[in-house]
Amino acid sequence: MQKITIKLAAFIIITSFLTACGGNQDEKIEEVTEVITATDSTNQVDYILPSPLQIAELFKSAGLTYIGDITSPKTKVETFNSKNDQKLNFGVYSADMAYCIMNNQTQESINYLNTLRLLSEKLWMTDILSSMGISTRLEANIGNEDSLTYIMADLQMQLDDYLDENGMGYTGSIIFAGAWVETMYLGSKVNESKQNDKLISRLSEQAVILNSLIKSVKQSDEENEFTELITDLENIQKHFSRFDEESSENYVMNKEEINALTTDITNLRNKIIGDKSK
C-alpha cells in the first residue's frame, strides 16, 4: 500500500512538473508573440475623445437654448435592433440627456435616463445605470445645474469604467459618434432658429473633434462594420475643408457653409435615429 502511495505521489509530482514545464514553453511562445506585437505597436496611436457633456456645456455657454421637440423621440428606443444602432443611439440619447440637464429640464433628463436604461439592457450594460441611483440624485437636485452637471460627469465616468473593464474601449468611439452627431444637430437647429455667432464659432471648432473621431472609428472598425458611418462622417468633414489643424488662425464657417453643414448633419442624425420624416 505504501509503495502504491509513493508511486502515486511520485507520478503526480512528475506529471505536474512536466505539465508545468510544458506551460513554461507555452509562455515562451507567447512571449515571442507578444514581443512581435509590441514591436509592431511602436507606431501605435490612440485617441482621447471629449465627453458629450463637455461639448454640450461648451455649446450652452455659447448660447444653446432649449427647444423641446428637437431631441430624439424616446419611443424609438424599441426600434433599434442591431448592436451598432444601439451603440450609436446610446450616444444620441446621452447627448439629449446632457442637453436637457444643461437646460434644467430635469424630468426630461430622467425620461432620457430611463430610455438609456432600456438601451443599455439591450447592450448588456445594465449595471452602469442601475447601480448609481441616478434618478434619485437627479430628482434631489432639480434646478441645481451645477449638481446635475456633476451627476452627468459621474455617469460618463461609470460608462468609461464599464467599457474599459469589459474590454469595450472601441465601443466608446461609436457611442461618442452618436453623441457628437446629435450635439451638432442640436447646435445647428438652435442656430437655425436664431443665428448666433458664438454658437457658429463653436460649431466650426468641432472640425478638430471630427478629425480625431473619424480616425478613432476607423481604428475600431476591424471587421468593417462601420464603413457606412465612416463615409457619412467623412461627408460631414468636407464642410470643414478650410480648417487647418496646424494654423493658429481662428477658423469660423461662413453662412453658406453653416447652412450646408446643418442640412447634412440633420440628414445623418435622422438616418441614425431612423427618422425619415424630418
Binding site: 503526480i12 514581443v35 514591436t39 505597436s41 511602436t42 507606431n43 496611436v45 471629449p50 459621474d154 496646424e246
Partner: protein
Amino acid sequence: MKKTILYSVLAFVLFFSTSAIQNNNNECDIRTIKNECLRSLKPDYLYDSYKATRFLYTNAEQVMEIEAPLFKDEKYRFIFNIAGLPKDIEVKFFDKKKGAKDRKQLYSLTKEEGKNIYIFEPEVSKKIYLNYIIPRTTQQNLSGCMVSVIGYHLTTE
C-alpha cells in the same frame, strides 16, 4: 516516508502558488489608479474622460502616442498616475504629431521620490499629443499601465 511525501507535495504547492502571486503583481487595478487621480480635479475641474494604457515592456523601445483634441480658450488638466509602472517610462507632451516638422515638446514628466500623481495643464488649443516612451528591457513578462485623467474648466461665457 509518508511525511517526506507530504512535505514534498506541500513544498510543490507552495512553490507554484507563490509563482502565481508573483505573476499577478504587475496587473493593474485601473479603477483604483484612476480614482486616485480624481482628487486632483477638485475644486476647479470637471471630469471629462480618462485613458488607460496597458503595455508589455519588450526588448525594443516603444513609443505610444495619444492624440487629444482640445477646445480653444478653455482650460484642461491632465492628471497621471504612475503607480502601475514596475519600471519608469518617459511621459511627454508635444504640440504636433510624431514625425511632424517643428514639433515642440511642451512637457516632460520628471519623477519625484514617493510621488505617483503628476499634473500638466496645457496652454495650447486644437490638439495635443501625449507620448509614452517605454524603455527596452531584458526582463520577461514585465507589464505595466498608465492612467491619464482629463478634466476641463470652461472659461468662456
